[in-house]
Subunit: 378 residues, 2 copies
């Protein structure tokens, strides 16, 4: 799925990049002899990340998410973005530094995501009952787990763990093969069953994490429903909770009302608000006939209840020249401003027929006009 | 080379988009009964483009550029960007509206670009002398021609032609096959010969264009040297001139000193300024070791003499998570600000190992910090 797209490259010495404001080269709690730096912050609403000795501190379970979501990587993308967003409600980007999870190792997460068995007592998924009928087998309920660490600098300038967020991705559909390389079957899981199994898994994960990290830090747990493998949007977080420092019990859950949808809506998959759909259709019609050849216009939409939270639009068309790309981008900016809902963040990617991004437009919730950029070449 | 990447799409009625400031729905000189609109302008430094009846007015020779540059599309991209830049010296983006060339049709341009023969007296390339040895045959000197029209609104609100720019792309290397699907051979053309043949071709093009458009508008001619087919940057414009309204003679040429280069420099291909190369190497080294897996870092650089005019950087690495992309992007912004030359426009594309753009950073010549955007998914 992921291959290393690099030709041979010369490795040369790597100096220290000056660290960002406030965090000059300090020693780190976990490796007191080495300094840490941060990635720097381009935007108040993003966390700075931890760098040790000039290298990014990667997740201890790096790569598990990619393999667990290989059938639809959108589930990984939306899972991680959403998990970071929930974390921001507890750990402000101003006071906390983001570190990829360092507690749960790759083998730990892999064991937890596997079935329970005599060899794997920690498996969060049920034992194999020997059956392979869609409705008779025990499905895999838990699909992915990811830890995020939130760090604070202490009075001595050391960076120490100050909070953990853990996301748990749950299946509504468990895809499986009856034989290797065979046809794909699916076991459906009801919403109620998913939520019930999610609570059971979350309780175990919190107790185990608490045992590993001690009593000093809060643990935020966020439950995610995986999207189907052919979905054009990822899944969404349906509940979350904070387990305060000192506790290892989940007492209550906060339900979210967030879901992702695809525009244009279809007869079988509608969107929560008809006005948004009408606005998108107006925009699409405006764009589609700009060139003699038709443009494809689709979007991912994020909703909280019936309220649109953001749009990510993709436009694909065939360009015959750079000047066409520039003109089209200007036209899209005008049409987007006229037709698309205001007050929400909107990204628009303009792709050529070979799928490469030719230009890009974006606005934040506050902006009224679009930032535009055409990818040109010297 | 270019295929239509669209699935079946519903065509629906297309209304009129409100036109941009100053140009309310006017009638057009060439089709007096139909209104024209413009694409709108996102940026003072770009032209607005012409829309007729809701559709972009495409080039009359649309597609010729793509086929003439199919071996290296960078030659088309840099040709068209550069041609627009030269046009801006004569036709301000404030006063003129851009229109894709409407004078030279596809068959005209194709005839001009072919060899001269009894059947094709207008061919700008020399007759076939029947020989196919690299140094004996007559090479193809002229590779591409493109017309751009610059329009002004008259007192009646009609849009009329106010200037033409024509670009002529010349070969230093003419690639050819001795037999269909056979090996590729190359005839080298000296710089002097290219320039000489370019002047001959330009004189003919101007005279023919003048005959077609009449005496009222200036014609700007710009000469471009095509890059080699395996080049990672396009070619560059080496000379240009303006033929004033009423004249059809080229009296003198303005030489440019603009060229494109690739970073990192190699032993066989150096760059004009060692300081820029050192700055780029520092940046590259800083970036390359951020992850355990190496990142590839290359750039296109535009020079005027020894002065760097702009950089387009491409970074390719393997990401395992969205959080890695966000952290890396912030790190790149900091490193770019620290190491890359200031006072020039810089674009940076961050790509995953599958080649898709994951994030993007850009600054204009005036900016000190970078605009950053991570392409996320719902």
């Amino acid at each position: 799925m992921v291959t290393l797209g690099l030709s041979t490259l010369l490795l040369t010495a790597c100096g220290n990049l000056g660290s960002s404001s406030g965090t000059t080269t300090n020693t780190n709690e976990e490796s007191a002899s080495s300094g840490y730096q941060t990635t720097g912050q381009t935007n108040d609403s993003e966390y700075t990340g931890v760098i040790i000795n000039g290298r990014y501190r990667t997740n201890k379970s790096r790569g598990v998410g990619v393999s667990q979501n290989s059938e639809n990587l959108l589930n990984l993308k939306s899972f991680e973005s959403g998990l970071t967003d929930i974390s921001k409600e507890y750990f402000s980007t101003k006071d906390y530094v983001f570190q990829e999870g360092q507690t749960l190792s790759k083998s730990t997460v892999e064991d937890w995501l596997a079935r329970k068995s005599s060899k794997n007592p920690d498996g969060l998924n049920p034992e194999d009952n020997g059956k392979n009928g869609e409705n008779e087998r025990n499905p895999m309920y838990v699909q992915q787990i990811e830890e995020q660490d939130y760090m604070k600098e202490d009075s001595k300038g050391n960076l120490s763990l100050a909070g953990i967020t853990v996301g748990i991705g749950m299946n509504r559909k468990d895809y499986y093969q009856k034989e290797e390389y065979g046809a794909t079957y699916v076991t459906n899981i009801s919403k109620e069953e998913m939520e019930k199994q999610g609570k059971i898994a979350a309780a175990k994960v919190v107790a185990r994490l608490r045992a590993k990290v001690g009593n000093d830090v809060p643990i935020v747990v966020a439950m995610y429903q995986q999207a189907e493998i052919d979905s054009l949007v990822g899944g969404s977080f349906y509940a979350y909770t904070e387990v305060k420092a000192g506790s290892s019990e989940i007492t209550n859950w906060t339900d979210t009302d967030i879901s992702s949808y695809v525009f244009p809506a279809t007869s079988t998959k509608s969107v929560p608000n008809d006005n948004d759909e009408a606005a998108f259709e107006s925009f699409k019609n405006k764009i589609q006939n700009f060139f003699p050849n038709l443009a494809g216009v689709t979007a991912q939409a994020k909703y909280k209840g019936k309220n649109l939270q953001g749009l990510k639009v993709t436009i694909t068309t065939q360009f015959y020249s750079e000047t066409e790309i520039t003109s089209f981008t200007q036209y899209v900016a005008k049409a987007a401003k006229t037709y698309l809902p205001s007050g929400i963040p909107v990204d628009i990617q303009v792709k050529g027929s070979d799928g490469t991004v030719q230009s890009f437009l974006a606005k934040t919730a506050k902006d009224s006009s679009y930032y535009t950029h055409v990818f040109t070449s010297y």
